[in-house]
Amino acid sequence: MSCVKVVSLQVNYDEVRAVDNISFELEKGRVYGFLGPNGSGKTSTIKALAGILEPACGEIILNGHDLATARQKALLKVGYMPDFAPVYENLQVWEYLDVFAAAYGLPSAERPGHISKWLEKTDLTSKKEALVRGLSRGMRQRLVFARTLLSTPDIILLDEPASGLDPISRKQMRDILKECRGNGAAILISSHILSELSEFVDSLIILEKGRLVMSGSIEDIRSRLGGGQKLALRFSRPEDGEIFRNLLAEENIEAGRVVQDQERYVVIFKGSSGAAGGFLQKLMGRGVSPLECAISSDDVEDIFLKVGAREVA
């Protein structure tokens, strides 16, 4: 069920059209990777969805409410985290969270419980009474992450949430986001660290020069890009290499789809997901027993590179 609907969104800055007529929908219980090179319009789109930037035109519907006409209702269940951590330097950590718990309408009696829960989840309990100005960059990022999820939002908009976080905190963040997805939240996450998205992203939205290049589930995009399986092989005997090359010729696999690194070959397959497996079966049927063999699908990074999005001029 879709909880975010963006129709013909356009965002302008003076002479630059940062977002140009893009439309997409986000469904509940799914994580969307928001990809694109620098200046492709990711941050502008997220800010427009969060109601911070006025779109030049287009429609944004959040949980069934039009952001332009029913702002308060539309933003009721939206959590937004920008790419830097806006904080009140002179407030204590719990005070900071209390301010925003109040902003999201949590009753004063319930606020301490929520705050303690999220401090624990983001590993900041020991810093509860500390002043925010004394926190490290990573801690501030975790604090803002806790603020974002404090009101248990249905729509979570994250702009480079992992910047400044150490590997343990990143894993913590991923686990929390998986939990949110399990609870039915729609998550839109923009990140340059593509490898970390691969693990838990269900769908992708790819922008280039403010335009939507491609969107859909990862499986869907892989098949649209022509499959996207890689078969890695290493042979123990030289004659096995010869049989392998013959089979490549028989199967009409072009040389450009085969990468050789010393004794190791990587073959890129398009088409159905079973192509790599079928090729391996045929190879073994001719008596070849590879020293190493692995089949993998295109990850988020491969897809992004295939789409080949370029930066805005």
Partner: protein, 503 residues
Amino acid sequence: MMKKLNDNALFLSCWYERSRPVNIICLGALYAGLIILSYFTSMNVPARDMNALQVFLIVCEVAQAGVLLLAGTLFVFSLSSRERQCGTLDFHRNSPEAVKDKIVGLVFGAAWFEWLIFGGLFLLEVVLAPLTEIGVWRVMLYNLSLVLTALLFHSAAVLISLLTTRQNHRNSPLVMVGLFFFVMPLFGMVTSFTAGTGFYHILGLGAASYALPPGQHWGSQGWFFGLNLPLIILQAVLQVPLIVFIVRALFRTFCQPNSPAWSKDDILRICFFLLTVVTGLCVGAYFDPQAASGILNSHYRSDNGRAGILFGLASLHSTVYVFLGIAAAFFLSPSYFQYRKYQDLSTKKLVARSAFNDGASAFGPQMVYIMQGAAYYGFYLAATGTGWLNSLCLVFICAGYILGFTAFLEYYRLGEFRNNTAWFVTILAVWWGFLPWLGFIISKGDQYVNFLTMLGPLTGLALMQYFVAHQAVPYLPALCAPLVTAGILWALVFAREENRNPA
């Protein structure tokens, strides 16, 4: 329904920041120290014809004003700037809290301690007042006057800080102090012409005389048009609409972050209100016996005192008219972003074409403003009955300056030089400064009026006011300079518009 203050996010953020015991103790001690020292200083003034209790009461009243209007405004400015500077304002824009709660939180939260001190002193004054000549009623009126002025100052401080602060750039509260000193000469200038001025009452100075015993007051009475209003009423008449305009701007600042703080309609309403205030007080000064009896600036004294006042006020009115129009141009001329947005939407027929859209040209609204101002000259023309030709010329000259500047600003904002401030400043300096200066140099005793001296408002307006005051007829062709310049500039603006959007 208004939220409780402990559920108001912006109030809480200010509350937490300012409620540290050390802050409270230091500031409380500072305020108490000032009151005590002021009391003893006042008691040492010789020839003070008041008892100690009355002096203490007046000191408390002055302290209330200082704490709430000065310290309170600075705290409001500082904490509002912080929201913008550290980026948390975006979180509040993004939160589902009602905008009115956000405004209440910022306006009252940032100066909650000053409001507390104010409340405490008010209770003390209510107890002391019956024991003095001042009385409870005057104390109540004085406090009401302070509350109104504080609401105006604090809401203005929030708006100015949100509009002037940039993210990651600290905006010093000194900006407020600087602004205050920048505006003060304007108040002074206006006060020298008339006994009662809009700025005098907007600052709440008129109603401040309620702090003194009955019969003792300073400054003017409350003459507005032909009515002598109670000072607190006059203050409310002037301050409440301004507070409403500021709150409307704050609503837009929260909900439409990329739009100007005021819509074109609002700007015209503000201008209409300010012109009404100036006219009302000018006409009021005509009826005010105190104003006619010698407070006037000596330049405008004449045998016929009232005619002198009228010409003086006409000069004041034309100055306010032109510079208000020039200030309005900054809000009425669209930014490039707004212009592009409006063009896109109107081309796609998603928005109706309107002269009052944020992205539309300022020409239409400025014409409305010019007509508003010209209509007010009817008062002067009707009242004087003489010098109508010069008064009419003055109206056309004012309209020329306003339209000319607006066209220049629009040309600059929408053209290829829009990011080049030096271009704008240089052209303006030549147009308003160097060319009129050159005009003075080459004029040969014909009263300095020539095409060049009339080009800019700084010189042209002063010359024209002189002719109006002395009922002399200047060289008429030279008076066309502002309108001709405005016509050329608007032709340039519209020509570029045609090139950009060929039919």
